[in-house]
């Protein structure tokens, strides 16, 4: 398969692994932002190819993981109503809220439907005029254009039975929160390729300058990740701190301008609470007042629901790259994909799920004989 196979080739992987070994003279800690990148790293065993000096820490870029508990509780409250068809991406339905998850709402008779696109939810609203259709709009800048498009289309179609429960988050403020924290140990970032496909990478330049940290926009295939690491290590070794683009087949400096315009049309920047991390200023997107009729939080009057995080789950520490999943005492014992305590064990982009699925037998990479 073109554009996939060449980025999974053993030859290219070995080439970049050798380059990284050659460049590295001392220990470096690099954070991959996106949960999709974390999964590639763990699923393909990339760390086994790296020299010991390179330490990868897993970042907060898992939209499901950082969606606050109270938003899940709000979703459950809305989805439990008889007059509602609640639509969501599949990942969200198994994330535990305070007392249950969305799937259990379905089991007790709620009309919950998994969709692949928010526009499918708009279609469901058209087909079911007697029901109120709500889409669970979570995610980073990557999913924001499609969610904005759903609202835009709903208004154009004159739909009065469609709304979104919005909990959008933004990457650069989260990076800034990590970098300005005293406990920070990240020396370079692999920025999330898909986020930058939408937003471009100009907004990362001030961050790289202010905190003297190399940022490499990186894709999601194993060879992308290895090349991204090689570029980051090269900068670190040379004492540079710039924004570079590894993912050139998808990302342009200015990003996707029409998509950004659509985001600005529907959403405005707002403060946002991140699950396990807390409130980060100007780190989210909320629905503009002009589109308030599509804001499920207002329509269903659930603004006042609040919730407390589990005391056992250390998701926040993991999402900030301070610990790895297997260092959590509940990992694989009290917390598993069947009985998750926190979202990172559920989501297909969650670091805990990646460790559980792909690296359970030895949390540290282990050499396995060639077949």
């Amino acid at each position: 398969m073109r554009y996939v196979d060449e980025f999974r080739s053993r030859g290219a992987a070995r080439h970049y692994a050798a380059m990284i070994r050659q460049l590295t003279t001392r220990p470096w800690t690099i954070m991959e932002i996106c949960g999709g990148q974390t999964h590639t790293i763990v699923k393909t065993g990339i760390e086994e190819l790296l020299p010991r000096e390179i330490s990868l820490v897993h970042g907060p870029g898992c939209p499901v993981c950082v969606t606050p508990l109270e938003i899940i509780d709000k979703a459950i409250a809305i989805a439990s109503r008889d007059d509602v068809i609640f639509t969501s991406f599949g990942d969200m339905v198994r994330v535990p809220g305070s007392s249950k998850d969305l799937l259990s709402v379905k089991a007790s008779g709620g009309d919950l439907r998994i969709v692949y696109s928010p526009l499918d939810a708009v279609k469901i609203a058209q087909q079911n005029p007697s029901k109120r259709v709500v889409f669970f709009a979570v995610g980073f800048e990557t999913t924001a254009p499609a969610n904005a498009m759903a609202v835009y289309q709903a208004r154009k179609l004159g739909l009065q039975n469609f709304s979104i429960l919005c909990s959008h988050v933004l990457v650069p403020p989260a990076m800034e929160a990590l970098l300005s924290s005293e406990s920070n140990r990240v020396q370079a970032f692999l920025a999330a390729g898909h986020v930058c496909t939408v937003m471009g990478f100009e907004e990362y330049i001030p961050l790289a300058k202010k905190y003297r940290v190399p940022i490499v926009v990186t894709g999601f295939e194993p060879v992308d990740i290895l090349q991204g690491i090689a570029m980051a290590v090269k900068q670190l070794e040379e004492g540079r701190a710039e924004v570079e683009n590894e993912y050139t087949r998808s990302v342009r400096r200015e990003g996707n301008v029409p998509a950004q315009q659509l985001i600005r049309e529907i959403f405005e920047i707002t403060n946002r609470k991140w699950r396990g991390i807390g409130e980060i200023p100007v780190s989210g997107l909320g629905i503009r007042e002009e589109y308030a009729e599509f804001d499920a939080e207002k329509i269903f009057n659930v603004q006042n629901i609040s919730a407390d995080e589990s005391k056992v789950c250390i998701a926040g520490v993991i999402l900030r790259g301070l610990k790895k999943p297997h260092e959590c005492p509940a990992f694989g014992t009290d917390c598993s994909p069947e009985h998750p305590l926190g979202a990172p064990m559920v989501s297909s982009e969650g670091a805990c799920a990646a460790y559980y699925q792909y690296r359970r037998f030895s949390a540290e990479p282990k050499e396995v004989r060639e077949l």
Binding site: S9, I46, L49, Y116, P337, Q357, R359, V368, L371
Partner: protein, 354 residues
């Protein structure tokens, strides 16, 4: 296209034997005249055999064998007609395959239909007709059956249960606990076709593709494999949960480790592409016409060439080996040269695919 239409007919041109009732009624499962009508006009002529024609309460069979294998499975797939097959042939092939995976020669099947009131008679006919074709081609006889009709809304078109009996020859001892360190693992062909074919026609997710279900009866392939090496240790058909789940079950039953190589796993380009788009790991996607064999490594190359010479095993590959390390776990060497655990599937990747 509504879900009651049959877009993927298997080309039957036989006229429907019951024309006065366009839809199945509650009375067709009530035990009275309409039930009798359905059995005598549709089922008996299709599955014609001595035992069924007696219309007795059960089949009386004479079986001479060292051991017999006995299995049952229910089929609730949605949609019932899909690219490459339908629920009827799936119900025959699935149970035939379960018997074959015990090392048995499948002989007799029973069938139980649970039909939703209002189900088009035409569709029942298509299903029954393709069951007959699948049974004939697999060399099994449908000797007894039952039909129930449930109120509209209490079922989903049609559910089928089939049970089967097969005979096992003395020299054969297939048992998941027999997987032993040093054994080779062979997979009989391209994975993930059935699951992806079903996904491509599911409501709300239709996409254009030529990917077809791989549903097939594997007993003739197994017959040839046993003739080549009667000492096959384990056979499994990786249906729901895919290759990953079957390998985990074997590792768990035998308390052994399994090591496979990603590069050796056969998969068609179009299926790989569809999995990429939908975010599925093909190792967890269902197959309905593939098997995994675990056997002594010394016999592996010979077995591979025998399997490749069979139409259902052309793409066979040796995908890995059984090891003493990490008992109970399946570990895969990835294409880029790392390793990962291949875990048991958690939850459902695709709902109701068989």
């Amino acid at each position: 296209m509504t879900k009651n239409e049959a877009p993927f007919s298997n080309g039957t041109t036989c006229p429907i034997p019951i024309s006065e009732y366009p839809h199945v009624l509650l009375a067709h499962g009530g035990g009275g005249r309409l039930s009798q009508h359905l059995i005598q006009k549709m089922f008996v002529p299709q599955f014609r055999n001595e035992s069924l024609e007696l219309l007795h309460d059960g089949a009386v069979l004479r079986i001479e064998a060292d051991r017999i294998a006995f299995t049952t499975d229910s089929y609730v797939i949605n949609p019932i007609f899909f690219p490459g097959g339908n629920i009827g042939e799936l119900a025959i092939n699935g149970t035939v395959n379960d018997l074959a995976m015990c090392g048995a020669i499948p002989r007799y099947l029973s069938v139980g239909f649970i039909i939703e009131e209002g189900f088009p008679m035409e569709n029942l006919w298509r299903v029954v007709h393709s069951m007959q074709e699948a049974a004939t081609s697999a060399g099994v006889v449908l000797v007894t059956g039952d039909t129930k009709v449930v109120d509209k809304g209490k079922g989903d078109q049609i559910f089928i249960n089939t049970s089967g009996i097969g005979v096992i020859e003395k020299s054969v001892n297939i048992d998941p606990r027999r997987a032993a360190a040093g054994d080779a693992i062979i997979l009989s062909g391209n994975i993930a076709q059935h699951g992806i074919a079903i996904m491509s026609v599911r409501e709300g997710l239709e996409f254009e593709t030529t990917i077809k279900s791989d549903t097939a009866a594997l007993n003739s392939l197994v017959h040839r494999m046993i003739a080549t090496c009667p000492d096959i240790h384990v056979l499994r058909d990786p249906t729901r949960g895919g290759v990953a789940s079957s390998l985990n079950e074997i590792a768990d039953s035998a308390h052994v480790g399994i090591r496979i190589s990603e590069e050796s796993i056969p998969i068609a380009e179009d299926v790989k592409g569809a999995c990429e788009i939908m975010g599925f790991d093909p190792l967890y996607v269902a197959n309905e016409g593939k098997l995994i064999a675990v056997l002594p490594a010394a016999k592996a190359e010979e077995m591979l060439s025998v399997m490749k010479s069979h139409p259902l095993g052309k793409e066979s590959q040796i995908i890995g080996e059984v090891v003493t390390d990490h008992p109970g776990l399946v570990v895969m060497k990835t294409k880029v040269g790392g390793t990962r655990v291949v875990d048991m599937m958690s939850g459902e990747q695709l709902p109701r695919i068989c």
